[in-house]
Amino acid sequence: MANLEVNFCGVKFKNPTVLASGILGVTASSLKSVIRKGAGGVTTKSIWLKENVGHKNPTMYGTENYFLNAVGLSDAGMEKAAQETFPEYNKRKPGPIIANIVAGSIEDFGVLAEEITKCDPDIIEVNIACPNVEDSHGKPFACVAGDAAAVTRAVRARTNKPIIIKLTPNVFNIGEIAKACADAGADGFCAINTLYGMGIDINVRRPILTNKSGGLSGPGIKPAAVKAVYEVYKATKLPIIGTGGIMTGEDAIEIMMAGATLVGMGTMVYYRGAEGFGKVAKEMAEWCDKNGVKDLEEIIGCVHN
């Protein structure tokens, strides 16, 4: 059997599959169950400094080839993470945990970085997809290289944990944004966040999501993710969690060839259940065995050679 173990920012993962942020990440017991079902690691739902209510339902739905969501990053805030989620998860810790943090200001990102470090996550993932409250147009940090870098610097200054930046595909040049974050001290990236989307119920003539528009994910976005990972790898050579439309072991192998070290999956759970993590890992091992790959790390970024 091929060795599926990978090293990401100095952290060992038994296989490259990782639960993406926002799915099954409300409680420690839910995160632990995902590891039991085969994931190499898990990412928490985005953690805010203070409670964030989120949007009203409908917040998500899927079809055979795509999925739309606008949950609105609902969360009880740092207090619950510190008092419940992390202490519970770290009791008989089953595998690496990535803490995803989100804020609307650079200052809050700094405070969050310091607070979350006390919870002892293995890695901090910075969600910069939210609008910058200090930007007059409310542009997301992720869409402006200077803003993305400023967030990275603020987080870097307050933690010694590895930090990775979650990038949005909704930009002209994702490589440029990644480079700016790398120069500001990022240790790696997660690419990609969801694309923008909207669906309308033609019988009642209204958008289906209460927030009207939302994030597009699912099988159909895989090429967008592979392209983004390719560009980020080319621009920075830093480790990447490749995520977006990954449903099978072969999808996972594909995004690793573009440059990903870990493979994030979220929407896959809709199609294959949480058991899908174990299935994808098994499919990856089968592919390796069939293709004479002894160590999975040898395929990372191989298309760049």
Partner: protein, 275 residues
């Protein structure tokens, strides 16, 4: 690929009839079926307003009923709707009650749990099961579905907290007595979690498995958001449930203790005892 299988968009249905069950409760009738089984739920969408999980009160392949008590903003909005108004539904979702032909069942309903239990009883009677229907409420006026249940020809047992109808006390005391006197094969229950926990204990005392309709805060209903994960196994109420068995539930530290809100924060049913 089965395309419909992965389509969780809404089916838009017009309300065909509205039945006032009691002061707070209405049944919405749709002349359409979603193939729901007793114990399963659906997601109900008021376009442009909100969407909530609701139990399926009845679905016989021709008509779908959803019984809703006006307790919060969503259910109050439902109560403002008129015949002909459109809502979206998606489902059926989750697990359902299972029984074999000819079994002797005890169905224990607490308050509004009478609606889904009526559906179980209806199907069980069709399968030649013998049914003890136990229904508990705070008072006589809150007893739901009484006439409908009597129409099924089941043995009806009533309790009220104030004694205004039936036995004065808890329905679980009535269950204990019924199980002393009769050989029950399975116990099914729908009602407040704290009541269902006692139902589970009573059934266990008599060596019988109990299945119960669990209710946890749900957003997606399709196993993705993780909002309804139950401690400490982390299993999802929307997928492993809502109908789950007592021998599994009794081992969970969350059972009968707490639930979570839309942000995932814990709320205890009772104040935790000081350590």
């Amino acid at each position: 690929m089965n395309i419909k299988k992965f389509d969780s968009r809404f089916e838009i249905l017009s309300i065909a009839k509205i039945v006032q069950e009691n002061e707070m409760t209405k049944t919405f009738v749709f002349e359409s079926s979603i193939g729901g089984k007793p114990g399963q739920f659906l997601m109900m969408w008021i376009p442009g307003f909100d969407e909530k999980p609701m139990s399926i009160a009845f679905d016989d392949g021709k008509e779908l009923w959803v019984t809703i008590c006006a307790v919060g903003p969503f259910s109050q909005k439902m109560h403002e709707l008129k015949v002909g108004d459109k809502v979206g539904v998606r489902g059926p979702l989750g697990t359902h009650y299972k029984f074999k032909a000819g079994e002797h069942l005890a169905l224990v309903a607490g308050g509004y749990g009478a609606a889904p239990m009526y559906f179980v009883a209806h199907e069980a009677v069709k399968a030649k099961c013998k049914v003890e229907f136990l229904i508990g409420a705070r008072n006589k006026d809150l007893l739901l579905y009484g006439q409908k249940i009597l129409g099924l020809g089941v043995d009806l047992h009533i309790s009220t907290d104030d004694g205004s109808a039936g036995f004065k006390g808890y329905i679980t005391q009535v269950l204990d007595k019924v199980m002393d006197e009769k050989k029950i094969n399975q116990v099914f229950t729908c009602g407040p979690e704290v009541m269902m926990k006692v139902v589970g204990q009573v059934a266990e005392k008599h060596g019988v498995e109990a299945y119960m309709s669990m209710e946890k805060y749900m957003k997606c209903g399709i196993g993705v958001c993780g909002q309804c994960a139950i401690d400490d196994k982390g299993d999802l109420c929307c997928k492993k449930g809502p109908v789950m068995k007592w021998s599994y539930l009794k081992k969970l530290p969350e059972m009968g203790q707490y639930h979570r809100d839309a942000q995932g924060r814990k709320h205890y049913f009772f104040k935790p005892l000081a350590k």
